[in-house]
């Protein structure tokens, strides 16, 4: 049951993320990338196996959960957070420099003029 729920959550997040990334406005793309990184983080987190009741600290339990995916996901979260922050600033800068928030820097109407 847990496996099914987890895979549906990751799948839906990934699908939404990819869909949003294909949009033409920077804000939507940013949201898409954020969703994709959530999906990826969950995916890394479950890569050590999905089981409940395993010990996290040595000496408290007979079997232990794999600590490495937790370390990996922590690294991935930190890096993803920094990258998202950078992307927000970059998108605002591009909005100011180019005059609109289209990913190609030209609003739909004046595409011929600016090209």
């Amino acid at each position: 049951m847990m496996e099914l729920l987890m895979s549906i959550v990751i799948g839906v997040l990934t699908a939404c993320g990819v869909l949003m990334m294909l949009r033409a406005r920077t804000f939507a793309v940013m949201l898409g990338l954020t969703m994709l990184s959530y999906a990826v983080n969950l995916f890394i987190f479950v890569s050590g196996g999905l089981t409940a009741g395993k010990g996290a600290v040595l000496g408290r339990s007979d079997i232990y959960s794999d600590p490495l995916p937790q370390a990996l996901v922590l690294t991935a979260i930190v890096i993803g957070f920094a990258m998202t922050a950078f992307l927000v600033i970059l998108a605002i800068r591009a909005r100011a420099d180019l005059g609109n928030d289209h990913v190609d820097g030209n609003s739909g109407k004046s595409q011929e003029d600016s090209a």
Binding site: M21, T26, V29, L33, L36, S37, V40, F43, I44, S47, G48, G49, L68, P69, L72, T75, A76, I79, G80, A82, M83, F86, L87, L90, A91, R93, A94, D97, L98, V103, D104, G105
Partner: protein, 500 residues
């Protein structure tokens, strides 16, 4: 001290960059310049020492935190890593020299970012751990985002946005591949992964294959192979010239990762995953080569043309890399050195030429005469000869070697026709560009601005590498061959390496 040599190419730029951010250096540009230069000089010394040490043929391991393999993160310091670290250091030195012409003052953090970028690049070259490779990728990427935006402007904002978005999506795919590989193999040490892949059951091999496909996508994006190359021309041509020159090594990181990761993981003879992706890379490489050559002919500005030349070199490297024999990989390594240095020289030269043409800048239309036509013309001809592959420069040696790498008739037919056709197209495009820039002049007076000395020295030092690669050709080729040989036996080396 020699014991810690493998980690110094990461530590030196890290410390330099961190110190450069402190107030005494932030306040004055001149102090930043000298300290940054001193850091680079130290890095060059360290890289040369590393190269000398690695050329004894013993690859050393550096265990971070002294955790035993395969549990801790390990740095692998072999010929391949040492060679690329030195290449990055030489490029960075030229970029630093060029930026003394005034470019480093256009934005706030040029020098620290350059060193952080170097730290990421060297880390990616040295690490023997796949997750650590991801982390160093991110270090070099976030510095490159900053450097790409250096100086600001509309074109850079647009190209920067595309570059950042593409790479963020790439990082997400990289993480998916990593998690999948870890779930199946239970390790992230590349050498250990190779051992475990050989013991897999067929059902699990399919999962590894899926992960390998994603890795191929990520490295293809870094190397800018055909369907994933659209970000490169606009990003490289709009970046500040010193930055673009430094970026010339970035596509080679993709090539390096293909060599290191795929060359280690999927080499077991008879294994279902043996030589995974080679067929795809072969076709994609040839297609990149052809389309990039068309791009070179179609380019309307010199910087765009040079950006497409980077793609031409990527196409040649990837297609020959896919052949996979020892001479082929040796040829790839030699051509990597040559094409990186010359592409960087051309980016710098394009900007020097553009500065003297006033408002038309580097666009390939008739403009006013240059202030220093003879000097710049000579430099342009030398660079063009090297990049096209005419004797007596390194491009000739490199291309001959690439052509010789194809041994089977079908390979020869494909590679020779595509590579020679693309060379012809590049020759035509460069001839046309050169005659437009230097001979199709309008009646305006030449401007008064002449190229500053640091900029000229930077171009000269990079161009000088081309004849040096020919004069010391035998030594360089022997080194490349030995490197390719060493790559053929990664597992034996890794397991025999032991503790350091």
């Amino acid at each position: 001290m020699m014991h810690h040599l493998p980690i110094l190419p990461i530590l030196v730029p890290l410390l330099t960059a961190a110190l450069l951010l402190l107030p005494p250096f932030q306040a004055k540009l001149s102090r930043q310049r000298w300290f940054s230069g001193a850091g680079l000089l130290l890095l060059l010394v360290v890289s040369v020492l590393g190269l000398v040490e690695s050329s004894t043929g013993v690859s050393s391991f550096y265990l971070l935190g002294n955790w035993p393999q395969p549990f801790g993160i390990v740095l692998v310091h072999d010929r391949l890593a040492a060679m690329f670290v030195l290449l990055a250091a030489v490029l960075a030195f030229a970029a630093w020299l060029f930026s003394l012409g005034g470019e480093d003052g256009q934005g706030a953090f040029y020098h620290p970012l350059l060193h952080f970028l170097l730290m990421g690049i060297n880390g990616a070259f040295l690490t023997g751990d796949l997750f650590n490779l991801f982390v160093f990728f991110e270090v070099l990427l976030i510095s490159s985002y900053g450097l790409l935006m250096h100086g600001g402007g509309k074109a850079r904002a647009r190209a920067g946005l595309h570059y950042v978005l593409m790479n963020l999506a790439g990082s997400a795919v990289f993480l998916l591949a990593l998690a999948l590989l870890y779930a199946v193999l239970g390790t992230l040490n590349i050498a250990d992964m190779a051992l475990r892949i050989n013991q897999l059951e067929p059902s699990q091999a399919l999962l590894v294959k899926a992960a390998a496909g994603m890795l191929l996508l990520v490295f293809g994006l870094k190397a800018a192979v055909l369907p994933l190359h659209f970000w490169l021309p606009s990003a490289y041509s709009s970046a500040a010239p010193a930055v673009a020159a430094m970026f010339a090594v970035m596509t080679k990181i993709g090539v390096y990762c293909l060599l290191r990761v795929f060359g280690t993981l999927f080499t077991e003879p008879g294994h279902p995953l043996q030589d995974f992706g080679q067929q795809l890379l072969w076709l994609a490489g040839l297609a990149t080569l052809l389309l990039a050559a068309i791009g070179v002919v179609a380019a309307q500005s010199l910087k765009k043309l040079v950006a497409y030349l980077v793609l031409v070199s990527v196409g040649s490297l990837i297609s020959v890399l896919a052949i996979g024999t020892v001479p082929a990989i040796a040829a790839v390594l030699y051509y990597c050195l040559h094409s990186t240095l010359i592409a960087a020289a051309l980016f710098l030269l394009a900007d020097v030429i553009a500065q003297q043409r006033g408002t038309v800048a580097d666009r390939l239309v008739s403009g006013r005469p240059l202030q220093q036509p003879v000097l710049l013309g000579t430099l342009f001809i030398v660079a063009a000869l090297a990049v096209v592959g005419m004797p007596p420069l390194s491009g000739f040696v490199g291309k001959i070697w690439l052509l010789q790498a194809a041994t089977e008739v079908s390979e020869r037919a494909a590679l020779w026709s595509v590579l020679l056709l693309s060379s012809l197209l590049v020759l035509i495009a460069l001839t046309r560009a050169g005659s437009t820039l230097f001979w199709r002049l309008n009646r305006q007076q030449a401007g008064s601005e002449s190229a500053s000395l640091p900029q000229l020295y930077a171009v000269l030092s990079l161009l000088l590498c081309s004849p040096l690669l020919v004069i010391f050709g035998d030594a360089v080729m022997q080194f490349c061959l030995a490197t390719a040989q060493q790559l053929q036996t990664p597992l034996a080396v890794m397991t025999a390496g032991g503790n350091q």
